[in-house]
Structure formats: C-alpha cells, structure tokens
C-alpha cells in the first residue's frame, strides 16, 4: 500500500486540478484559490449530499449545520467538570425561586448577512418551538412557560417547574434569525439552502451530490480565533469507503470506526496521522425489572443474582476481542464513566466494587448459597423453583456489541444461567426497550456535560420505560428523592454532594451491570493543520460528530500549516 506510483490517476488529477484552478480563478478572481485554507472533514455517512441546513430537521439536516452555522448560547465542557464556555451568551442567572432564568447575550454579534443578533431572535426561536412541536428539538414544550426579551441583550425564560439542569437542555438550541424565518411558510420542510447564521462557517459556496463546502462567515464575531477558511465535506457512504479513501491522505478530521487503526490509518503517514479515542458513555447489561417471565422476574429482583451476573462477565475479552481494544473496561459498581473522574466519590468504590471482576467460581458460589439449584439440564432455577431463561437482545449489525454479548452469554452459561443471544433489527430493538417486551439488553446511555443527566434519565421512576436508556424500569424512591434534591438546588457544591450519595446508593443496589465504556471516534491528520486535541492535551471531547458541541472550540484551535 505504501508505494506511491506515478499513475494514470495522478496525471488525471493534475490535469483536472489545473483546470479546476483555472476555472476557479476565472470565477473568483485569480490567486484566491491558493491562499485559502480548506479543512476536509468526514462527519456523516450518506450516499448523496442533499442540500439541507435547516437546524430543526434533525434527521435531514447536514451535520455541519449546528455549531458551524448556528452557534450555541453556551457550551458545557464535560472534560472540564461541565464548566461553561460562553458563546452567544456571556452569562445566565436563575431567579431566587429558580422559576425563571435570564441569559445575557454577547453585545455586537451580527448574523452572517450583517443584521444584528438580539434577544428578539432568541425569543422568536423558542416561541417558534412552543407554537410548533415538529421543530421543538430541545423539548421547550415541556420545560418553558414563556419567553420575554426585556432588552436587546437580555432574554428571560419562565420555567414550568424548578429545573437547575435547564441550561443543559438548551445545549442543542440553534438560534435562528427572525428576519429570515418569519417569512418561511413551513419551518419543518424549509431546506435553508442559503443559510444566514451566527457561526464561523455560514457561506455554502459549493454544493454537489459528491462534495460541499462551507466557508467563512464574513461577519463572525470571533473571527480573531478562526484560522480555517473553508470546510470541505466529501460524500462518503460508509466505513469501508472511508478505509479505501485513507491512502489518498485527503481528509483532515475523521470520525469513523477504523478497524486495526494503527495499520489501516497511522501506518499510512506515521508522521501526521493520529487518533485519540477516549472512553465515552458506559455500556451495561440491563435486566428488565418488570419482566413478564415469572422466573426471570424473581431472579432479576435479587441482588445476589445481579452480583453473580456481574461476576460472570469477562470484561477484558469483551474489550480486546469484541471491541478491537478500543473500549475501556469499567470496574466500578456505580458505572461512572472515566470522563467524569472529577465527580468520582471514593466512598462508592473499594469493597463496593467486589462484584465487578470476572470470577465464575465466585458467581457459582453466590448462586449456590442463595438457593439457585441446578436442574438435570445443568441450568439453575430460582430459590422458589421457577426456571430462569432469557435472551440478551442486541441490534442486528452491531457486530462489536454482538460479539460482546456472545462472551457474556458464555460466562452466564458457565455459571449455570440459561442465557442466549437474540439480534432483532435496530428499530425492533428500540421498540422492545420501550414496550418492555424483553428480559436482558446490552445498552448504553447518553451523557451530557455532567454525569447527572445520564443517571437521571436511565434510573429515575419518572423516565422508567419512557426512553430507551431507561429500559430497566428501575424504581427506587430513595434514589428519586436524591434526583429531586439535585434538580431543586443550583449550587455546584450541593450538586457534588448529592451526586456522591447517588453513586453510593447505586453501587449498593447495583441496578445494572456495567461492563465497559465505548470509545469516542476521532482521527486526524496534521499534514495541513495543527492544533489538534490529543491525549496529551485532553481539554475537550475531540469528536466532530453532531452530538458534540465542543467541536466548535476544536475548530477554532486549528491553524493551517504554513
């Protein structure tokens, strides 16, 4: 692979490049093409680009719409204890009764068409969401009572209930310009092909089914930090297509799953190609506490059974064999992801993690002592004599997860538990999690900038069974009370304290069986740009995917190689 040959292809590229440059200089005036710094990135897999920069069209929008076209009010940096990075807003303040919040906007910010960006635009955007549930991508309908704009730089939002996590819920809010959107007949179907935005890369200069380019916003408020002139996004239809493209060395910022990354990527250009795939959210085995199978139901409720389940998990093999070594073993009963180490409570560790190893003998002993007798077929029944038998469901096609479940099932069978694997289609899998027609699932939860949201959504009675992350249908009044306290307090110290108690409670009650933390997907080439976030400088989540707001700050760190 390494030898570069002079070939038909290179000749062709040279001639076509020459022609393209010639064409470009005729079109844009000579010399412009050479002075530009163009960053090539791969965010999403599509078979053909469709021009759609409507931030409210979650499934249809190009994934370079948020952050690069529509700047957030504030970004919370998970790698910095959830500290705010102020963007369009410079501060916010809760009222004393916590029933309203006032954002102070950055003065002098302009839209890319030169019009001023004011509190009226923010009010307009949230009102649009309240009026039209189909564009309500942040759930404002559930949280917001009303919005007021007392001055051009102040926005006051009245809340429906006390919610100290409210600013987090606005993390994905795209403030749109009222003067453009008020004339849009259908904000859902609008494709916004010539977007007017507040972010660094608002000008869509070229758009074809195979590539598109987003260039510098002429009125960007933070232009001093921006050293990239254009983002170039080639259409790539899948990971295998990405692998085939890698030897060309044309992509700077990648967010793909690359098997054997050292061989397939780094070895192509060891001097420039690098990656950092830090552990992300926790993946766990979750038992359905409302299982309709009477034997399973009895077993899942029993803490001893859950401990034995955990001891039957060969986490190291799951990581090494199933996950190409990319994930990281999680050995904490609380399941806290490594990215939230600053929140870790020492009191929730140590001997509380005694059941997090891989020890089949100990698992068998726990089950024997608790009265789970083995029958003639070698499988155990519950202490009351009911059969235990279940399938672990995992979406078809998620090969690394399927392999991990396979390893888990082998471990369970070695402990006398009759487990098997089932691979429904992803949509079917989601349905089963939501309607409760499953016994055990391998599942992950979505983290936000602080660990609270992930725990709250997956283990509170309020969400039980309502979200896929809340599949276990766990319900614990003590835990609910802690969650409630957390939401009702707004001081960081109180949040820390309450979250310490939450960790202890979860480690003791062991509702789910954490196994590992999946990786983030981030690869880069420093051939054309420097300033990449690396493991030596782990200041933020480095991913360029649409679920990571910090990608904006990552872009602003990059400088073209002179």
């Amino acid at each position: 692979m390494g030898m570069r040959k002079r070939s038909l292809r290179n000749l062709f590229q040279r001639t076509s490049l020459a022609a393209a440059v010639l064409g470009a200089s005729l079109a844009f005036g000579a010399g412009m093409a050479s002075a530009e710094s163009v960053l090539t990135m791969h965010i999403e897999e599509q078979t053909s680009w469709v021009s759609n920069f409507n931030p409210f069209d979650l499934a249809g929008r190009r994934q370079s719409t948020m952050d690069f076209i529509y700047e957030p009010l504030v970004i919370f940096n998970a790698n910095d204890g959830g500290k705010p990075v102020w963007r369009l807003a410079t501060s916010y303040k809760f009222s004393d009764d916590l029933m309203s919040i006032t954002y102070e906007l950055r003065p002098g910010v302009k839209w890319s068409d030169g019009q001023p960006l004011t509190s009226a635009d923010v009010k307009y955007t949230i009102d649009l969401m309240l009026k039209n549930p189909a564009v309500d991508t942040v759930g404002a309908g559930q949280t917001v009572a009303s919005v007021e704009a007392p001055s051009p730089t102040e926005v006051t939002i009245k809340l429906k209930a006390v919610n100290s996590e409210f600013p987090e819920s606005l993390a994905d809010l795209a403030v749109v310009p009222e003067h453009i959107w008020k004339d849009v007949a259908d904000p859902v179907a609008f494709k916004n092909e010539k977007p007017v935005g507040s972010g660094p890369m608002t000008e869509v200069r070229r758009f074809t089914p195979q590539v598109y380019e987003q260039c510098r916003n002429p009125n960007y408020w933070d232009a001093a930090s921006l050293h990239v002139d254009c983002l170039r996004l080639p259409q790539i239809s899948g990971n295998d297509q990405m692998l085939a493209l890698l030897p060309e060395g044309t992509v700077d910022w990648i967010g793909s799953f690359l098997p054997q990354i050292d061989k397939t990527f780094v070895a192509l250009d060891p001097q420039h190609n690098g990656y950092w795939q830090p552990p992300a959210e926790t993946v766990a085995f979750e038992m359905n506490f409302k299982s309709s199978n009477i034997g399973n139901f009895e077993a899942f409720k029993d803490l001893n059974f859950r401990h034995a389940f955990s001891l039957a998990m060969d986490r190291k093999s799951m990581v090494d064999i199933a996950g190409f070594g990319y994930p990281v073993v999680n050995l904490h009963a609380s399941g806290l992801p490594p990215r939230f180490d600053s929140w870790r409570n020492k009191a929730a560790e140590g001997d509380k993690d005694a059941f997090m190893g891989f020890d089949t003998d100990k698992a068998n002993k726990i089950l024997d002592d608790a009265g789970y007798k083995k029958g003639a077929d070698g499988f155990r029944t519950t202490p009351s004599g009911k059969p235990i038998t279940f399938a672990v469901i995992v979406p078809n096609g998620w090969t690394d997860w399927i392999d991990a479940v396979q390893i888990a099932v082998e471990g369970l069978r070695a402990a006398g538990i009759n487990a098997s694997v089932a691979t429904p289609e992803y949509e079917q899998w989601r349905k089963q999690l939501l309607d409760g027609s499953f016994d055990v699932v391998m599942n992950s939860r979505a983290d936000s900038a602080t660990p609270f949201q992930g725990y709250y959504q997956s283990l509170s009675t309020a969400y039980a069974g309502k979200l896929t992350v809340a599949a276990p249908r766990y319900s614990n009044p003590k835990l609910d009370a802690l969650f409630d306290q957390y939401l009702k307090s707004s001081s960081d110290d109180d949040h820390k304290k309450i979250f310490n108690d939450i960790q202890v409670l979860i480690a003791d009650d062991f509702p789910v069986v954490p196994v590992f933390n999946g990786p983030t997907w981030y690869q880069y080439s420093s051939k054309r740009f420097t300033g990449w976030v690396t493991d030596k400088d782990p200041v933020m989540n480095p991913e360029n995917h649409d679920n990571n707001r910090m990608r904006l700050m990552h872009l602003l760190r990059l400088k073209p190689v002179q």
């Binding site: 759930g139 060309e248 992803y426």
Partner: protein
C-alpha cells in the same frame, strides 16, 4: 412493427403483478419510517427530538386499502411521494439523480461486453476445438460463475487501493463541477472504468458462451456453405453470414439477464460508492425509506419489461422469418 396482442397481455399482467407486490413487500419489512428516522439520529435521539419527528410525520397508520388507493393515485400522476431519508426531496428527484448514473454504467458495460463477447464467441465457434476455443471457452464459463461482489472487491483492492491506478469511488472527481467540457468527461470516464470492468466479466462470459453455441448451429446452415463456395473471405463469411444471424439468441439472452445485470450493478455501486440506483436502493432499505424503495423496484420492473419489449421489436427487425410473419 407489430407485437402480438398475446405478448402485450403478458406484459400487462406482469406489470400489474409488479405493482401489487411492490406495494406489499416494504410493508412486510419490520420497522416503520419514523422509527428509521429516529434510528438515523443515533445518540441525538433525545426524547424531545423523537417527539418532534413523530409530530412531523404524523401517524402513517391508515387502513391498508386507503394506502393502496393513494399509492395507485400517485402512480398515475408520476407522484411517487416524498423520500423519508432525503426529506423533503421527492422520490422522483432522488431517483432521477441516480438513474442516469446506473444507465450509463449498465449500458457501457453491456456495449463493451457485447463487443468483446460476441467476437470471442464467433472466433471460438469458427475454429471450434482449436487452441483458441479450448482456452477461451472454458474460461468464459468460469467468468460468468464469479459473483460480482468478489470481482468488485478484488478490483477495488488491487487497482484502486493497492496500485492506486484508479479512484476508489465517486462518479467523477468531486472537485469538479459537472459541465460540458473535456475535463469533466475525462473524469467521468476514469471513474467508470473499474465499475464497468466489474460488471463486465459476467456479461462477457455469458455472451461468449451463447454466441459460440448459436454460431456453431448457424455455421452448419446451407447459406454459409454457399458463401464459402462463392469464394468470399473467411471474415466476410464469419461476420456477414454467420455472426449476423447468430446474434439473435444473444439478444434474447440479454433481455433475460438484464435483471442480473441490475443486481450486479447494486453490488458494484455499493463497493465503488457510485451514486446510482443500487447505492440508493441499499441506503433506502437500511433507512426503511418505503417511498424510495417502491419507486425503485417499480423502475427496475419497468426497465426489465421495457427491455423485453424492445427485444421483441428488434427481433422482428432482424429476424427475416418474423418479418415475413408480421406482414
């Protein structure tokens, strides 16, 4: 040119059958478009987002007969609905973009293979049992037995990834804007070489084998003997007298294997990231994009029926016996 009414009846029945199956098939697949859209969101599928999507598409739960009527109404007006994956683009927009590339690929591959296969078959028949025949003919059988996916992956790996002689994907260099100029057409040509070569072995094998056997039959006919007796050159007899009439079964065959060619083009397009119907169908299936899948299957059915119809007509033109009967 007349095609018998019985043949037309067969076409009508086939078309009706295709229309009905096309309606039923996607509905037998698990999952719904809304689920698929949510699935596309992956980690961004916050409860609020899921609600927003549901609100947008409403419930697609109409009674099945109503859905069928709507579907027929749409067909009649060439309105195949709106794509789920590429919302708010219409199915017609999505498909017309892709059709061009697939037709280009398939037609190029067919013309190329026809030239190669027919000549190889004719020569093999002319000298049957000779050295050329004993080497080429078994090789042709092997060729059309290799699944396209193997050919596609091998050519991609050898010529694009390892040797880097050809691009690994796209229909043309993404840095170019489409236009009527030499650079653009050159780029299209270079990007089509590997996909065409992938589709060709199977076709060449098929055409060579058919041509050879039908040519052997023709060469036994009296008029060929007469041509030789007239003292015409070998080439003139071989192509003027033999090949011309031996082509008929090859054309029939072409109509029959057209479906297989489309099948091969699906695999080829996926491997080479070629923006044609195959790649579109593949992603539409994954995304449960019913409207696009339906439009596409219908298009392929129409293409196959149309090709058969065309062959019927061409047959009448080139087969003197039919030309007589038609009068």
């Amino acid at each position: 040119m007349r095609v018998s009414s019985r043949r037309l009846g067969v076409y009508a029945v086939a078309l009706a059958f295709a229309i009905v199956v096309n309606f039923i098939l996607p509905r037998l697949m698990p999952g719904s478009p809304v689920d698929a859209m949510v699935a596309q969101l992956g980690p961004r599928a916050t409860p609020a987002a899921v609600e927003a999507i549901k609100a947008r598409f409403g419930e697609i739960d109409q009674p099945i007969m109503m859905q069928f009527l709507d579907y027929l109404k749409g067909l009649a007006t060439f309105d195949l609905g709106v794509s789920v994956k590429y919302y708010p683009q219409t199915v017609v927009q999505v498909l017309s973009r892709a059709t061009l590339w697939t037709i280009f690929l398939v037609v190029t591959a067919i013309i190329f293979s026809l030239c190669v296969g027919v000549v190889l078959g004719a020569i093999a028949a002319w000298r049957r049992g000779g050295r050329f025949d004993t080497i080429v003919s078994p090789f042709a059988v092997i060729l059309f037995s290799i699944p396209p996916v193997i050919v596609a992956l091998t050519t991609l790996f050898v010529f694009a990834v390892s040797l880097r002689w050809f691009p690994v994907g796209y229909a043309y260099d993404p840095n170019l804007d489409p236009g009527f100029n030499f650079t653009f057409f050159g780029s299209v040509f270079v990007h089509a070489i590997l996909p065409v070569l992938t589709l060709s072995p199977f076709l060449v094998g098929e055409f060579q084998t058919t041509m050879r056997s039908s040519m052997i039959v023709v060469l036994g006919e009296d008029y060929v003997t007469m041509g030789r007796a007239k003292g015409l050159s070998n080439l003139a007899v071989m192509f003027g007298y033999g090949a011309r009439n031996a082509l008929l079964p090859v054309l029939t065959n072409l109509a029959l294997i057209l479906g297989a060619v489309f099948g091969g083009s699906i695999v080829t397009e996926i491997v080479f990231n070629y923006p044609g119907l195959g790649l579109t169908l593949f992603t539409a299936s994954v995304a449960r994009d019913y409207p696009v899948i339906q439009g596409q299957l219908l298009l392929m059915t129409l293409a196959t029926l149309g090709a058969n119809f065309l062959v019927d007509i061409i047959y009448g033109l080139v087969d003197p016996r039919l030309r007589e009967a038609g009068r």
